[in-house]
């Protein structure tokens, strides 16, 4: 078990910078997820930690020791690849035992440990088969067994579930969570799937263009996105983002966009009169407005209803004088869904609103006092 620290980590190919000044401390036993769109540098960072990619600048330390110049095999890390990367000509047993054989572990010991690991992952009946005779999920389980058996200090997962179909992905996600609970090995898990990130991670590192957008627990990232990018990236369906202009309305801040007008208590946000901002409300935070309500009400027409089982996603065209008014997505319980074409009055709780500076993209929420 070990801590991982990355300080001022950089990666560039020629003049193209893939990763810029990446700093992160991963605690012992922690499960950290690198999340971001493709090309954000998350896999590159993982590969630098593994030693498969040269480090252009900065340091990686595992268990307190800088490993920049160590070969991958000397870093005591194990990695699971997206396409499994099994040795195609070897049986499952030989695949799992490969690392131990290279470490000159005795045959009896190898036998025992392979049996143990394959029992945990339910691979017992398949030990003599070849990888091509297994399903994708089984192959990925072999890859995990191969990583586990070396009892590494650190587990690295590089989009391990991306090649699996949706049902199997859910199943394997639960298995990985269970495995981490049992082994408590420090883990870094790379994914572009926010559901995996939210469910697995103790902490999420959200990356964009080679820099960290936000580091935090899944709840922190969902509830208090630090930047506009995070707000737009996290949450399905996506957060509604509306460009607004802030004005000082005396005891409350007012935000207007065409005919839409919103008001908030002063304490929550750090705003200036005339500031350009982006207002964000998640589709699930909208509720039907009481007839008496006047503030923070969006009136509009339901354009489209997407039925999703428990819930229905409404596409609402706000009644607004300005032409740039965007469609608003609203998530409602399916049995309360209105028909397309119906008029609707929506409102939301003030506490569910996010505001971001339009220029910097940073959240305008005041830091929490606690």
């Amino acid at each position: 078990m070990a801590k991982i620290s990355c300080s001022n980590l950089k990666k560039s190919y020629g003049s193209v910078e893939i990763v810029r000044d990446f700093n992160l401390e991963v605690d012992d036993h922690e499960f950290v997820v690198f999340l971001g769109p493709s090309g954000c540098g998350k896999s590159t960072i993982l590969r630098m930690i593994a030693g498969l990619e040269d480090i252009s600048g900065g340091t990686v330390a595992i268990g307190g020791a800088v490993v920049n110049d160590l070969l991958p095999r000397d870093r005591n890390v194990a990695m699971v690849f997206q396409n499994y990367a099994l040795y195609p000509h070897m049986s499952v047993f030989d695949n799992i035992a490969f690392g131990l054989r290279r470490m000159k572990v005795s045959t009896a010991e190898i036998d025992r440990r392979v049996q143990d690991v394959s029992a945990i992952l339910g691979l017992g009946p398949y030990l003599l088969r070849h990888p091509t005779q297994l399903s994708g999920g089984q192959q990925q389980r072999v890859a995990i067994a191969r990583a586990m058996i070396k009892t590494p200090q650190v587990f690295l997962f590089d989009e391990p579930l991306s090649n699996l179909d949706a049902k199997l992905r859910n199943h394997m996600r639960v298995e990985i969570a269970r495995l981490h609970k049992r082994l408590e090995t420090t883990t870094i898990y790379v994914t572009h799937d926010q559901l995996e990130a939210m469910t697995l991670g103790d902490r999420i590192v959200l990356l964009n263009g080679g820099v960290i957008e936000q580091v935090g627990t899944p709840a922190e990232i969902y509830e208090r996105p630090r930047t506009l990018f995070v707000a737009g990236f996290i949450g399905t369906p996506n957060m509604n983002l509306i460009s607004v202009t802030i004005s000082d309305g005396g005891d409350r801040w007012r935000a207007t966009s065409g005919a839409l007008s919103f008001a908030f208590v002063r304490e929550r946000f750090d705003l200036k009169d005339g500031q350009k901002a982006v207002l964000g409300v998640r589709p699930s935070n909208f509720v039907e407005a009481a007839p008496s309500a006047t503030d923070n009400v969006v009136e509009g027409t339901v354009d489209l209803v997407e039925y999703m089982g428990d819930a229905a996603l409404l596409d609402v065209a706000p009644r607004s004088g300005s032409s740039d008014a965007r469609q608003i997505a609203v998530l409602v319980e399916a049995h309360r869904s209105p028909r397309p074409g119906a008029a609707i009055r929506l409102t939301f709780d003030e506490g569910d609103v996010h505001l971001f500076d339009e220029r910097t993209g940073l959240s305008l929420l005041k830091p929490r006092s606690n």
Partner: protein
């Protein structure tokens, strides 16, 4: 529709196949026919003598020697070619940038493009004891001439070296290209799995290329059987009969020394049968 297609295909293929069949089978049948007679180049009459040519072969010590030399030649050239090719390919793949690798590949292709006879002459001069480039360093250091091609102990190995020079470099290029097509992830997994560089190749890369490497070995085995021109130019089977392979002995029995064309044919027929059987068995065993 399908039947019509087949008809069209047959129309185009049949003439070619007929020509090929004539070219392949007529000489073969003719050779078998002659091998059962006692025909000589000096006379026009001949009688059928059954299998007596074949029986005679097995008490011919020069034939047995030639068979042994052929076997040695086969083993030495095939294994040398494959070992050198694999090692060279790995070295190129490990040490060189893709660009340099491509440039070197071009150079490595040249020897095999040379006609075998020219390659043989070039190297015969290079191994010349007095004026040869390859033997010059030895002469300069010791003052003694080095005559590798006239020494019964080194003649076959020296000719084999030329064969390997032509084919190992060519195969190295093919194997480098094969290595480039392999997915990199199993190598990366092996790196994390405590494998040293040589272990990655020995246990992961080369086994992943097993099928193409076996095919290359077969190609080289067939090719090595046809090394007549190379050996003929460089040593003419000498010194003595130390580099006399079966095809060379058959040639000299048939055309050079005694004109015993039937006896020579029986050797050719025997070689054909043995190689067909041997290759069939090997191919079947390797594929299972």
């Amino acid at each position: 529709m399908r039947a019509k297609n087949n008809y069209l295909a047959a129309t185009f293929i049949t003439p070619t196949m007929l020509v090929l069949a004539v070219l392949a089978f007529v000489p073969t049948i003719y050779a078998i026919n002659i091998s059962l007679q006692d025909r000589e180049l000096s006379g026009s009459d001949a009688n059928y003598v059954g299998l007596s040519n074949f029986i005679q072969l097995f008490s011919d010590r020069r034939f047995l020697n030639a068979a042994f030399v052929s076997l040695k030649w086969e083993l030495v050239t095939v294994s040398a070619t494959m070992i050198i090719a694999v090692l060279l390919a790995i070295m190129m793949f490990e040490a060189l940038s893709p660009r340099l690798r491509n440039a070197l590949s071009l150079v490595f292709l040249m020897p095999v493009l040379l006609p075998r006879v020219s390659a043989a002459y070039v190297w015969k001069f290079a191994f010349h004891p007095l004026f040869g480039l390859a033997t010059y360093p030895y002469k300069a250091l010791t003052g003694q001439p080095l005559d590798l091609l006239s020494n019964p102990n080194t003649a076959l190995a020296t000719v084999a070296l030329v064969d390997a020079w032509q084919w190992a470099l060519f195969f190295a290029v093919i194997i480098v290209k094969l290595l480039e097509t392999l997915p990199p992830q199993p190598f990366e997994a092996a790196k994390l799995d405590h494998a040293r560089t040589w272990e990655i190749y020995a246990y992961v890369a080369i086994p992943m290329l097993k099928a193409p490497l076996i095919s290359l070995t077969f190609v080289k085995m067939i090719e090595s059987l046809r090394a007549f021109d190379l050996i003929y130019v460089m040593t003419r089977g000498g010194p003595g009969i130390t580099t006399e392979t079966l095809d060379m002995y058959a040639f000299s029995q048939g055309f050079i020394e005694s004109g015993k064309i039937s006896y020579a044919s029986s050797m050719a027929v025997l070689m054909m049968i043995v190689t067909t059987v041997a290759f069939t068995i090997l191919w079947k065993r390797v594929r299972t």
